[in-house]
Amino acid sequence: MHFDPVANLQLLVSGLAFGSIYALVALGFVLIYNAVGVVNFAQGEFVMFPSYVAVTFLLPAIAVFGTVVHWQLPVVGVYLLVLVLMVGFGLLFNRIAYHPLRDRGWMPVVISTIGVSIFLRNAAQLIWGSQPIVMPSLFAVDTISVGPLHIRPQDLLIIGVTAVLIAFQFFLFERTTLGKQMRATAQDRATARLVGVRVGRIVAITFVYSALLGTISGLLVAPLFTVTKEMGALIALKAFAASIVGGFGSIPGAIVGGLAIGVIETFGGFYISSAYVDAIAFVILIGVLLLRPQGLFGERVAEKA
């Protein structure tokens, strides 16, 4: 196969776009893990559910519980509405799935998140049915063409929004009191409580923040994926692998891990075989675990000890 710079650039953009989505969802995993010490297996549903809510209000006609509704609200309004709803969702999730079980060890909480995940997927099927739903793109054109180069504007949007979110996250964690409280809670909840951090509130904010990261991922990727009840689970699986590659608990690790998995699977599919894309990603995962069990960026939890 000859080297084609145009194809390589297209692969890079696509890989970075999907990698960005994995990174955002991986960040959600890591933030919750750092805050409460458990993996949230409903993280994928934080992507799927708001996407369904968004298409419900965006499309001219959509069946909800078998009845066709015609809301079709303006795009900006719908995005804001979905973000507000997901703030409530994050708080509710914290209150129902985590808070009552917080003193019973990690296992009941993990089971609880799995339960919520199954519930939300089945609820989505019940409410919106099995048909995949197309989320309208923000762009009038599907492709920007410059000579032989064809780039999806949605890919560029995903990469751009992710870059802004990462910068925002850096600012939040390094420059604000709230961010410092979140970091303190992640490092040692008992000590954070002793120095006056309201840990319960910080945990709730972490769930909300993770839900918002999932929501933004869903809104960004849905025009490429279509909205289905499985969309979140597929992303979450890769994002989980990404967070392990980066070092579970490490925020830079989640970002680098996500981007790496996205880029490697796209290039692997092109240069090795698309049949083994998943295998390539998971061989890398196993390789990292064997050579560097703490992941590329170490594990923050290990630092607690």
């Binding site: 194809a7 999907f18 995949p132 490429l224 279509t226 796209t266 698309s274 998943d278």
Partner: protein, 385 residues
């Protein structure tokens, strides 16, 4: 007998007691229902196909049970449904569960990979198995009581290949297929058909289950510079996403797909990105028999959306009516007798056309090549296997 208060109480009391203790003759019990099993993929990434099967079966059962004689002798159909989900193991478990439910026939899932996983269990039971799975191998696994109610991939792949080479004058043919049994089997058939005419595919790409980014596959195919791209994919959602991504990456070669490309949902989801594409399908609206016209109308009236006739609701509707006709004719639901009757089916008219069983259990022997013209599927030609 004089019906005074004492006699009335004695009679009704006996009847009530009889009913309670299972003596239906005393109260004239309803005829025993005929239990048919169904194993659609109701959850998981193929839930759309399962939902379509569920709807097709429910419509057929409703229509049959509304007849005065029901199936025969007043006996209605009763459907026992188990979810095959999205993996082979669950499908086999669901099948085993159904076999303990006293069913006399089973409508299998449409996924060939699940049918092939079920084959070892199927071989050990004398039950008529009705399937819409089109992989050629399905009817060559030694399950002698399996009946396929759709055209096999052999016919479909030959139709697609010949259309690409003869009608579209393609010399450089690329293949994109799913990595499941359906996609792999179909791609093998295309390669075989290309070989017969002295051609090799210029690219043969497969994608893993649940993939959503097809950039690598599309760019590889584009780099091979094909005159036509043949897609062999079962999942309508995958088909739609691939079409969208292919168009956004400026893949301009004509696309000729397996039946999922003509699937109503795939066409709706892909929208204008599917315009101009071709597909080999079991059924095209507008070129149908009275049975099909009735099915389309009744389906729309019941569900308020159009059915996916070939891949989803049509073949199961045919399967249930074919079983009903067979039971009515033989006045029995004996599975062995039913299997013998189904093997002798000749020119039975259903939604998907005229059914005649061959030695392997194939009942449909033709497909149509259609083109998506502004969102509507139009007949281009008929292909007989």
């Amino acid at each position: 007998m004089r019906l005074d208060r004492k006699n009335f109480l004695a009679t009704t009391g006996a009847a009530a007691a009889g009913a309670a203790f299972g003596f239906p003759a005393i109260v004239g019990a309803a005829p025993e229902p005929i239990r048919i099993g169904s194993v659609p993929c109701l959850t998981g990434s193929n839930a759309l196909l399962g939902q379509q099967e569920h709807e097709g079966i429910a419509l057929a059962v409703e229509e049959i049970n509304a007849r005065s004689d029901k199936v025969y002798g007043g006996r209605p159909f009763e459907i026992v449904e188990e979810d095959a989900t999205n993996d082979n193991q669950s499908a086999v478990s669901a099948l085993n569960k159904l076999l303990g439910e006293n069913v006399v026939a089973i409508v299998c899932p449409v996924l060939s990979t699940q049918i092939q996983a079920m084959a070892p269990v199927m071989k050990t039971h004398d039950v008529p198995w009705m399937t819409g799975g089109t992989a050629v191998k399905n009817t060559q696994l030694g399950v002698t009581n399996l009946f396929r109610l759709r055209g096999s991939d052999g016919i479909t792949a030959a139709g697609m290949t010949n259309f690409a080479v003869q009608d579209k004058k393609a010399k450089r043919v690329a293949i994109l297929h799913a990595s499941d049994a359906f996609g792999t089997g179909g791609a093998e058939q295309i390669v075989l058909n290309l070989k017969k005419i002295g051609l090799e595919p210029v690219a043969n790409e497969q994608y893993p289950k649940d993939a959503k980014d097809f950039t690598a596959e599309i760019l590889k195919i584009k780099q091979a510079n094909p005159d036509a791209v043949l897609m062999y994919i079962q999942n309508p959602s995958d088909t739609a996403i691939i079409l969208k991504q292919a168009r956004s990456l400026a893949l301009t070669a004509p696309i000729i797909g397996s039946p999922s490309l003509g699937n109503q949902t795939a066409m709706e989801v892909a929208g204008k990105d599917a315009y101009g594409t071709y597909c080999a399908v079991d059924f095209i609206v507008g070129f149908n028999s009275n049975v099909a016209t009735h099915f389309l109308t009744a389906f729309y009236n019941k569900y308020h959306h159009l059915p996916d006739v070939g891949t989803g609701s049509g073949w199961v509707y045919d399967a249930v009516f074919m079983l009903a006709d067979t039971y009515k004719k033989q006045k029995s639901t004996d599975p062995k007798q039913t299997i013998a009757s189904l093997k002798g089916i000749k020119n039975w008219n259903g939604v998907l056309g005229a059914f005649s069983a061959d030695a392997e259990g194939n009942m449909i022997h033709a497909v149509s090549i259609g083109q998506n013209q502004d969102g509507k599927l139009r007949l281009v030609k008929k292909v007989t296997g």
